[in-house]
Subunit: 362 residues, 2 copies
């Protein structure tokens, strides 16, 4: 037994939890609310603003975050932050607003030129943050990662720093009640992928495995209900996504994420969908290689590898057509991705190409 | 779903973890090592001092902590702290040194007269702390509780404050290798009691239940090996005790703890043993009352209530004789204990008396 465990974010769960715990938003005098457009509809923004007002705190809304945020978007948010004089940050939305919020909170305190943003070595210092997820997928509310579009590398790349753990995360399932089916499915696949990938890392530990198993145990049976989840099922999805986030906060993700980022960058495929598209063939590879963690994943799901692969495939529906030449290019680029390390299934270039080709049959 | 979750302590697990992570002890310039006498033998004190020396940090050892520390002991430690100029605290030992260390770290920053120590309302401020458990039981390294002897109330009483979470906990099973059988058994029963009691609180949550179930799942099968645990089993005991600590950090303990404190105060019965002595009859009461959490405890242990009760009884051996008049007095005093609240088995005075009387048959 040899591992570390850290999860410093205080998590509050329950419908109405933002207003009921307004006190926990006392992280400064003036909040920058970093969000996309949908938070104006789902109730999250309204609740955050009401809580800030009840605390007598000032706020500025930066709603310019688009999916797969770029450094340009982060710089724009930083400009709004400086102009407003905000001294803490609230990320409200899916992974994109939360990750943009994290980058803003970090770069506000530790400025970097664009070329250096992804080169690591950050000190333990960022503006304090609260996060309010409005999708049940990313788990970003409990991780030290911010994933941004990296134009230079033509993919998405993560910033990882303990400074990026939010102080508090508010999980209110009601913000996910109005999600379209497509988003519900893709974000659930993202969460599922996090939990499973965490178990497939050599950096997994008894703690990360407990979190991942519990996440899979909750998520997998909900895959049959994604077309019309009850409120209670929405709450469970959100909680399971958070558990999966806690798991990858310990382990990181596998090459599935690294591979999927190319698909998102070049073809605009939703992040969770990109993971889902690659997950089945990754599982089949693990099964063939006899990776013990694959058995643990099956046990947590209560299904065998083939059943899981078919369930995920059904959720995805028709697959995109990706030209073989692109897949071969991605396989080559994948081998230099940082996530190629510490995968229990030790993927060779042939393995990676096989996953790509079988995931997108001609 | 409606709950909060917090566990801000960074946990490091593994043999040799103190020296290997000496950097994590950089919590100040001068450490007060709060400990009992045994840490000089089991290697923990040596490793902590070596780590501090490698960091170039100063240290002072206060080894005056005795079992079930009093306020007098804490005051003595505070005196040593002030005289030494130490600016952070390292608790090394079982629950007693760790809890004394917590009280010292808290009262150093927020002084209180003896009569006010247990009255709560502490601000979120204490000297930074690292903890090194040398028994596999208390879980104090990951909780916000410090349990001290309360001479005024003739029992033990807890101080509870988020300020009491240590910054870091080092779990090195080697420090438990030389524990006498009696201590191994009693501390394992303490951990078991924490996990089970956490599940019997109405304040339990999906997170606390996950932690408690995992703790029970690891602990119960080890009960057959306590007479001569392997190193690997020692490591698992220590980890399971930590998980149980994380669980009670969310929920608190039940009346079993409140009842046991009388036995420790008046008869010097080890804390874990006191819990163990009362646990079986508490389980039987829960079984009779049809408390669903009792079924969850059984499922996690892989045994039925009667099997669990008999296993615990076997570990305890011959029970102490406690005069009936004392048990009746304790039952009355138990009803005003703060832990009487939020127990899923909703104990009446008759229930409490029944647990006491059946636990100590005349």
């Amino acid at each position: 037994m040899n591992f570390g465990y850290t999860m410093p974010t205080h998590v509050v769960v329950g419908r109405g939890c933002v207003r009921a715990n307004a006190d926990m938003l006392r992280l400064g005098g003036h909040a920058l609310i970093v969000t996309g457009r949908s938070s104006a509809q789902n109730g999250a923004r309204r609740d955050v603003i009401a809580a800030l007002q009840s605390n007598g705190q000032r706020y500025t809304v930066f709603e310019g975050v688009t999916p797969n945020p770029t450094l340009g978007c982060v710089r724009e948010g930083l400009g709004v932050l400086r102009e407003s004089g905000a001294d803490f940050v609230i990320g409200v939305g899916g992974g994109s607003p939360m990750d943009a919020a994290k980058a803003i909170a970090l770069l506000a305190v530790q400025p970097r030129a664009d070329g250096d943003v992804f080169s690591g070595g950050y000190a333990l210092d960022a503006l304090p943050m609260a996060h309010v997820p409005t999708t049940a997928g990313t788990g970003s509310e409990v991780t030290q990662y911010a994933i941004l579009t990296d134009e230079r590398m033509r993919t998405k790349t993560s910033i990882s720093s303990p400074a990026l753990f939010p102080k508090v995360a508010f999980l209110d399932g009601s913000y996910t009640d109005t999600l379209p089916l497509r988003t519900t499915v893709h974000t659930a696949l993202d969460a599922f992928s996090h939990a499973a990938e965490s178990m497939l890392k050599t950096s997994s530990s008894p703690m990360s495995e407990m979190l991942a198993r519990e996440s899979l145990r909750i998520l997998y049976p909900l895959f049959g209900s994604l077309s019309a989840p009850t409120c209670e099922e929405r709450d469970r999805l959100l909680y399971a996504a958070c558990l999966a986030g806690m798991a990858i906060a310990q382990t990181g993700t596998t090459i599935v994420h690294g591979m999927g980022y190319f698909l998102t960058y070049d073809f605009g495929i939703d992040h969770g969908r990109a993971n889902g598209l690659l997950l089945g063939e990754t599982f089949r590879l693990c099964e063939e290689k006899g990776v013990p963690a694959m058995r643990a994943i099956c046990a947590a799901c209560g299904a065998d590898t083939e059943e899981i692969c078919e369930t995920v495939s059904r959720l995805l529906g028709a697959r995109e057509a990706i030209p073989r030449a692109r897949l071969e290019e991605y396989a080559a680029r994948t081998m230099s991705h940082k996530n190629i390390r510490k995968c229990k299934f030790d993927p060779s270039k042939a393995d990676v190409l096989r996953i790509f080709l079988r995931s997108f049959p001609a």
